[in-house]
Subunit: 346 residues, 2 copies
DNA sequence: ATGAAAGCGCTAACAA
DNA sequence: TTGTTAGCGCTTTCAT
């Protein structure tokens, strides 16, 4: 709000039009690179824009056309994996007129819905929702309102595109690796998924499914052992404590996420157990934390950068062609072997 | 953009007005809790809003009044300290009509300016800039356009409020602690600040000043030893490597930030040195990473949550009273002693 | 290829 | 206390 004394009126499209001696329509066309403006017109308008230091008001644009704003929602700013995703989005948006604005979703359905609403209220042109917790129905409703890409959830939606890591395969990579090292008592700490409907979509559930499947394929069905807590440091700590209390404790733990592995390490340190001598540990995400030398965690790289890049690419594509059929992109994970896994008799 | 088939027109203020049998002005007043609407009017409008599921368009609001959007810019999403700041902002905004939108600033003056412009273009009501790298002049210009609070920079500005940790004192806490443990060869890894103008404002420079000052006070002037790299893991790694190459290597390292300490630990692990037996290490920020059991880093808590909270509080205050004199809030840091520091002869 | 004019959904003077 | 009305800065028909 201009406050009389200091704040000055913004340069508007009509200032530019007047300065260039053309109509506001012409300026608008140049701004949007729309059809119907001669090279001459372009030049005149461009220089007027530069001279006056004009910048279009996104608010005003939003009332009729686009705001050139992409909204991105994240469940958590502490998990460094998401920073990789954001980098990918940034890379895909570089060179376009689009700007990304972020919000945290709080891992809570109501708060999440508010954030989505807030972005829609602000006329954002498209949304990238990273591992949202909302119901399928809610997501479909959002997607009906604004072009949307959902990251990290599986399944085929009718209204939005999805980009996800192939968590099923990723979990398999972990189990195969541990089995090859001679481990049999391989336990898993999962993020509890209370909603049966979402169990088919959420990465945490898929990872647990992949764990079960791979254990069976390896002939280790009888050793399947899952602790359900949450993808958080506390969840890892609690899950590990319970696993250590078993009569025959596991020789390897597959934590569903690096952040969970952090909690596991807290518990193991406390119990005086060393990794990998006493117990092997694998995470998931390949966050910067996993690469940290004193930790050096074996984990699964799910290519956060590429996930973000693909999501943004799909979104721009959908903004341009809202009618095209939805796409599901699944990216292949890769095992990153470090120093928290060792042969069983090593 | 509505695409004909599926997307439906949004409910507008006139729909609500019609439904409630009142004027749009009345609805607007109720929305803004403005003066001049009877309780009766309130009730009628409220129920119409609920029945129709109306939500105001921020774009339209932005053209005349407020957008109820606070823009927050961060230099880096990987440093978990900033998550604490964001939590504080969120806490202060809870219960208000304001929503925060984030953007990364990339630690680059040009990119940063673009982000600031993007937020201004989107008619945000206020900006919280967390450790921006721009010049003082640039910041003053932003503040002349929109109410602004700058976090993490020192000095008295005429146009914007500031909230910062007392970095000078914080560095002193570290040196006093290490000196009390008998250390004399205490080295520091700082973030290089090329601009002389900003050297008086940036937290990194102030921490280095505090280090020098405290060393002198402790009678350790001759041992002052600074490596200039950057506040990043790579910076810590590089700085530590250089320090370890000294003829007489330091017995303690004060890393300017926890993230730097991470890099130092990488280098120490690589060199086969153990902490704190071979060398003591202190960070700055008290991020979650520092509390992580296998690390257990002694560090300085700069109360990120309170910093964010105060910043948001000041901003809302300035939005309400643009003319009030600027304020500088400086928060006292506290040393958190953990397991990376030990007596020199321990 | 260009411009005039209508209108997007709100807020804020002003009138009643 | 309430309603009428004029824009805010753009985009978009629709003439020319």
């Amino acid at each position: 709000m201009p406050s009389g004394s200091t704040r000055t009126r913004r340069v508007t499209i009509s200032d530019v039009a007047k300065h260039a001696g053309v109509s506001t329509t012409a300026v608008s066309k140049v701004l949007r690179k729309a059809y119907g403006a001669s090279p001459d017109m372009h030049a005149k308008v461009r220089s007027a824009i530069d001279e006056l230091g004009y910048r279009p008001s996104a608010a005003a644009r939003g009332m009729r056309g686009q705001t050139y704003t992409i909204g991105v929602t994240l469940p958590d700013f502490r998990n460094p994996f998401f920073a990789d995703v954001l980098d990918g989005v940034t890379a895909a948006l570089a060179g376009t007129d689009y700007v990304q604005m972020l919000s945290r979703c709080c891992n809570d359905q109501v708060a999440e819905a508010h954030v989505h609403d807030a972005m829609i209220d602000r006329s954002m042109d498209g949304l990238i929702l990273v591992t949202p917790t909302g119901t399928r129905k809610h997501l479909e409703r959002i997607a009906r309102t604004v072009p949307t890409v959902v990251v990290g959830r599986h399944g085929t939606a009718t209204g939005y595109d999805t980009v996800a890591d192939d968590d099923f395969t990723g979990a398999g990579l972990v189990i195969d690796h541990l089995a090859a090292l001679g481990h049999t008592r391989i336990a898993h700490i999962e993020h509890l998924e209370p909603s049966p409907a979402r169990r088919k979509e959420m990465p945490n559930s898929i990872r647990a499914d992949g764990y079960r499947h791979a254990m069976r394929v390896q002939g280790l069905a009888e050793f399947i052992d899952i602790e359900s807590t949450s993808y958080s440091r506390e969840g890892g700590y609690l899950g590990a404590q319970r696993l250590l209390a078993r009569d025959l404790r596991p020789t390897a733990i597959f934590a569903g996420a690096d952040i969970v592995a952090m909690g596991v390490l807290d518990a193991l340190t406390e119990a005086g157990l060393s990794v990998p001598d006493d117990i092997s540990l694998v995470g998931y995400d390949n966050t910067v934390f996993a690469a940290f030398a004193p930790v050096s965690l074996t984990t699964v790289d799910q290519a956060g950068h590429r996930i973000g890049f693909e999501a943004a690419r799909l979104l721009l594509d959908r903004i341009a062609t809202p009618q095209r059929p939805t796409q599901q992109v699944k990216l292949a994970p890769a095992l990153v072997t470090r120093r928290t896994t060792a042969p069983i008799d090593g």
